[in-house]
Symmetry: C2
Subunit: 424 residues, 2 copies
């Protein structure tokens, strides 16, 4: 199949874009792509490719921009229930501690998730996954973490593997047993850390090798924050995970700077995520590493907070920078990477070009898949979007609606913007 | 047709909700609606209505919330071109005056609009209108105002009448010849005011009576702001319009408080819109009137500004409060009222219930149609939404995607949330 656009083809070619190089879109005006067997076999000017592949069936993107599918490198995709009630309390001015006392907060999601069957977990997660896909995300990271006990965490993994299997969207799975201190260990947090290190991680490795033997090991993540896991506890979790061969991620500096970002750099984590309160020294540590700084602007937006990741500082320091939704039921229930771009432009002053690179090739590197996805280059998986607009800068400029018209995943074409049709 | 939901039916019954009464959703659990000939003929519990109408064909909303269609009371729906380029300049830190010097600002849209044929205007506006509809807006106000000369303003009116005709969404049309000082009058702003008052408005009346004799007269609006029309100039425009029988609207206090809101109240305008910098005295004037205070939170969001309408103050003063998108190419290109609700909850601390009332029954009153739309009551037009969620508080809590599954317009059912389907 030869897909051609009469406006812009954004290739994002050339690998992850470090620091000030962020925003190189590799634009081919009136560009085309040839796809065979789920892969990209040629990229170039439409005229040239039509000559080189005269018998290839064509898909005309019209004036729509052709670009790589979004890669969302940080989501808490799977949970049961919702916290709409808590949102209403928050907007009515109730204090966080009163909300906790009224049964709100992360532990309410843990309770709902622990009691949900795998069928219910899949049924409740599927619509979120479809929303992501319909809004242009072709690969998403997905974390466990609302179980906080071995049995539920493994059920979440099983559900995520099933969803990955059934859906056109690819999942990069992360184990986040260390998301919060389990309620059973409220008065003995170190006891829970020991449980994660000594029981959960070895069990996870064995389970994974039995249930997903053909897949690489999942990421192991930890919530390094005051009130969750200290820097020392986070180190214990990550060092053990690394010893077992797991690739690493970290939640760091959302509310407080306790050194999680530097820890991620030191241990060679794939990414350090949130980074709202990161110190200049820790930004420097990231910049010297291959750890991607992943900003989650939906979280401050969701909570109506004023502080966002100091993205321009991170970029100026020459670090690797990416963006994600952080889709979760407490602080940020949004599935759309397009909206992440709109926030990044407004609240972190990225240009649309920088935000696009941070949601494609760089976010692919944050889940260590930049060799196969995140750009339109020969040999890569054919994961692409046809937008309903003729200029990439409409991403960011416009917001609140879906500008994706068709999603191409592993060479298959899905229409996602049908407008409407009358059924009765 | 009998439409029933196993979750919530929000009726919003009882007319516009003033001040502290805002947020009365009139919820019927497991409610149903009977629709005949485009109108609502019965509202009540599903069991009772199924007994009373045993032979009625049914539409099962499943667990989806059933609610009135959104009414968007302030949009600049029709223009040619875009200003994506200008957005990129802004995000790169360029100053507004430099952007103007580079050919940006409202006058660039005026230039593009003046040179566009009516066919091009309709073709470029249609996708916006469909996006509105797919996101749940069943009636929208739509302003002219990018012509600033009689011929183009009339072409915009003609295009809007054609779009109103072809589309399932209803338009409430507004004449905004006084949107900005026309470039020809740059050095003689009063000359343009005289042109609007002495030529445009009388021409408009005659034109309307010829081209749309069966429709009520459109609203006349004016941009009352430092740098646009002074309070005295705005009064001249509105008084003349009122003398000619037009209903009134005003843009007031977006950047500066020059008394537009009080002027609207004094002249009995249907609404005063923006109201970011409105004084306490002017809020009091609104509260004593039947003029609806329409807040446009997408505008500060679009510009990443920190000041929003003091909604809680306006509500506490017992004024009528509504919300709108302000969809336009300069400051806020968003078609979704769901996103307006998300902003209103976060940045003006409305509850989801208040925001829903402000986007249905109260926004219907802002275009003086609360007698026929904006709520689910016997005798009203059958304009309703079936959401893909089971609790109304998911509006506001979730954001960035579309939670509307089906739109019912004048009794016809349109599916708008199809997920995706594979086409190749």
């Amino acid at each position: 199949m030869l897909i051609h656009s009469s406006s812009q083809l954004l290739t994002l070619a050339g690998g992850p874009q470090r620091g000030k190089k962020l925003g190189a879109l590799g634009i081919i005006e009136k560009g085309a792509v040839v796809v065979r067997d789920e892969k990209i076999v040629a990229v170039g000017a439409t005229d040239e490719l039509k000559n080189a592949y005269p018998d290839e069936p064509t898909l005309d993107a019209g004036g729509g921009v052709l670009m790589p599918g979004f890669v969302d490198p940080h989501t808490h995709l799977i949970w049961a229930g919702d916290r709409a009630n808590e949102f209403e309390m928050k907007m009515s001015g109730m204090e966080y501690l009163d909300i906790l006392a009224a049964g709100g907060g992360i532990i309410s999601t843990v309770k709902a998730t622990r009691t949900a069957s795998i069928e219910m977990l899949i049924a409740q997660t599927r619509p979120r996954l479809l929303k992501m896909f319909a809004n242009g995300t072709t690969t998403a990271e997905a974390k466990t973490g609302y179980g906080l006990q071995t049995s539920t965490e493994l059920r979440l993994l099983k559900a995520l593997l099933a969803l990955d299997d059934e859906s056109p969207l690819d999942l990069a799975i992360t184990f986040l047993g260390a998301h919060a201190i389990a309620p059973e260990y409220k008065d003995n947090p170190q006891g829970y850390v020991d449980e994660v290190v000594n029981t959960m991680l070895p069990t996870l490795k064995e389970w994974w090798q039995t249930h997903a033997p053909r897949l690489p090991l999942p990421f192991v993540d930890v919530f390094c924050e005051t009130g969750a896991f200290s820097r020392e506890q986070s180190r214990q979790v990550l060092v053990k995970a690394k010893d077992l061969g797991f690739p690493l991620k970290i939640h760091a500096d959302e509310f407080d700077n306790i050194g999680g970002a530097a820890l991620a750099a030191e241990l060679g984590a794939a990414s350090a995520d949130h980074l709202v309160k990161t110190s200049d020294a820790d930004i420097l540590a990231l910049a010297k590493s291959d750890t991607v700084a992943v900003s989650l602007p939906c979280t401050p937006f969701g909570l109506a907070e004023k502080d966002y990741t100091p993205a321009k500082k991170i970029i100026a320091a020459d670090a690797l920078f990416a963006l994600a939704t952080d889709c979760n039921p407490g602080t940020s229930w949004n599935e759309s990477m397009q909206f992440v771009i709109a926030l990044a432009c407004r609240y972190m002053k990225l240009t649309p070009a920088q935000a696009i690179a941070a949601t494609t090739i760089n976010s692919a590197h944050a889940i260590r898949r930049a060799d196969t996805i995140g750009s339109i280059e020969v040999g890569k998986q054919a994961d692409m979007l046809i937008l309903s607009v003729t200029d990439y800068r409409q991403l960011g400029y416009r917001y609140g609606t879906n500008l994706v018209k068709q999603v191409i995943k592993r060479g298959h074409v899905y229409s996602v913007d049908v407008g409407y049709y009358r059924t009765a």
